[in-house]
Symmetry: C2
Subunit: 302 residues, 2 copies
């Protein structure tokens, strides 16, 4: 443990970071330096805010873990390979002296697991805790998988189970980095997104960017077994809770058949619908076709 | 102007961003994609917080400008060439509908001026405004200029004038990107840092990383003409206010003589001291040699 002094703390972080063959200059200068090369770079950023994405009573190791995990999920959604991250922090003025260390320990453990180098950051003090991680990586295989390549006739698939993330999985979910790379090796991924806001929001992004529609079979959506009942249906939770961080992707019907039959990931792949030429997102519920309400979590202001 | 809806607003930003030959995928996917190449990459991040780095009554165009400018200053401190940025935002819940647009307009104008592509970001809503910008760039010339290369006998130089940044310049300072690249072409820059926290802090970073000491002539420090007097001396302001974002750098005595005689930058270069073998940072004030107090702005918690 170090006292709550910006520069002492940064120096202690720098000592803990292992040397990395991809990093020329790490923590401790005005900017980090990453070795170049012929490969393109992926760049993504996610900011976690106290009382929005987590609360202070949650274990800070898990909050730090989540701050990197949500970015790993974005890199996975491009079928990318994570390389290096920078971490911008606002530490709460009234933090106890373990908060910052626990936060970076949780973040650092997940970084080690996914071979991510922490190469720099920015440390501030404010009212509430804010953690903003920027993650860099490389595309793999035939290149990055975007949101815009779905075609009518494609089958829409999802990994894992959805819903009820607030019961705890939003802090502990496994980023699907390896699963996405494996899919990218096995089949031609036409389009992919990670489920950060819920199908009720993220599927609309696939539709908008691909210029096609989707028809979902509501009964096919894999729902995380609810351990607590409330007045919302399990389907509503599965579609609108968000923070599942599973992969939602489009492949040919042949590839979907193969993936759902062979189940090569160690986590379930489920076909839940298909891309259609008609614009809009629809689903069949108990035999009736309806427009899927645009839901999920949306930040609003003003 | 668009309503305060996350996805509508992001779409409106994406429409305003020009295509860029360095960017393969910009705003609107899970991650941005930058074209690779043989050159190394610089990465830096800075987070600006309401009531710490700015207040809500300041013009939001200038707050947005500052959020990118402080990062440009970090890239300049490595003599780098900025390329692309991602912007993570927490917008205040009670923002009026111009705040977000003004913020991004100010940021975008400075991005255009320095040929920086805005390639992605993250939009959230919280109690207070937070802007975290991550900036990527390339080293120039003989490579990145670090903090660790000062050698005894080097002359310590600074650009511009220091102090009283809070009177307004902390929102309007010109990032020294072109000046740093020009210096890097003209002379062998042994070590460089940008003055974000003040000489009273940043010079200690040069000393720590270079493993040498410094002796500063207090009378030589160029002080920004104070327009308002207070109970602190102009020298105290110049050394400890921070947020001047001028360049502090070390060169050979010959190169310092040349730079101060030729003044090639359009902004003043002043020699203010020299690197010495003895550890520690000292200054001479009215003929007396003293240890310089370690000052500047430090974030503290716990």
């Amino acid at each position: 443990l170090v006292s709550g002094h910006e520069f002492d703390w940064i120096a202690s972080l720098a000592r803990r970071v292992a040397r990395d063959s991809r990093v020329s200059v790490g923590i401790g200068d005005d900017a980090a330096v990453l070795f170049g090369g012929p490969r393109d770079w992926l760049v993504t950023v996610d900011m976690l805010l106290e009382d929005v994405h987590f609360t202070r009573d949650m274990p800070m190791t898990l909050v730090g873990r989540k701050a990197l995990a949500v970015n790993l999920s974005d890199i996975s959604a491009m079928a990318g390979d994570p390389v290096a991250a920078v971490v911008a922090l606002a530490l709460p003025r009234d933090a106890n002296d373990r908060l910052a260390d626990d936060l970076m320990a949780g973040l650092g453990d997940l970084a080690d697991e996914f071979h991510v180098a922490i190469v720099g950051g920015d440390t501030n003090v404010a009212d509430k805790l804010t953690v903003s991680v920027t993650l860099l990586g490389h595309p793999t295989g035939r290149g990055p998988v975007g949101r815009g390549g779905a075609r009518p006739g494609d089958v829409l698939c999802v990994t894992g189970q959805l819903g009820y993330s607030l019961l705890g999985r939003h802090l502990t979910f496994p980023p699907r980095v390896h699963e996405a790379q494996r899919l990218h090796q096995l089949v031609d991924l036409h389009a992919m997104i990670d489920l950060s806001d819920g199908i009720g929001s993220d599927l609309f992004h696939l539709a908008d960017r691909s210029g096609c529609g989707f028809l979902v079979d509501a009964a096919a959506i894999p729902i995380h077994s609810p351990t607590r009942k409330d007045d919302r249906s399990p389907l509503d939770h599965a579609v609108n809770d968000g923070e599942d961080f599973e992969l939602l992707f489009c492949v040919s019907a042949e590839d979907a058949d193969r993936l759902t039959a062979e189940q090569p990931l160690g986590t379930a792949i489920t076909a839940i619908g298909r891309a259609v030429a008609e614009p809009g997102v629809f689903w069949t519920k108990e035999g009736t076709r309806e427009a899927m309400p645009r839901g999920g979590f949306v930040h609003r202001w003003a």
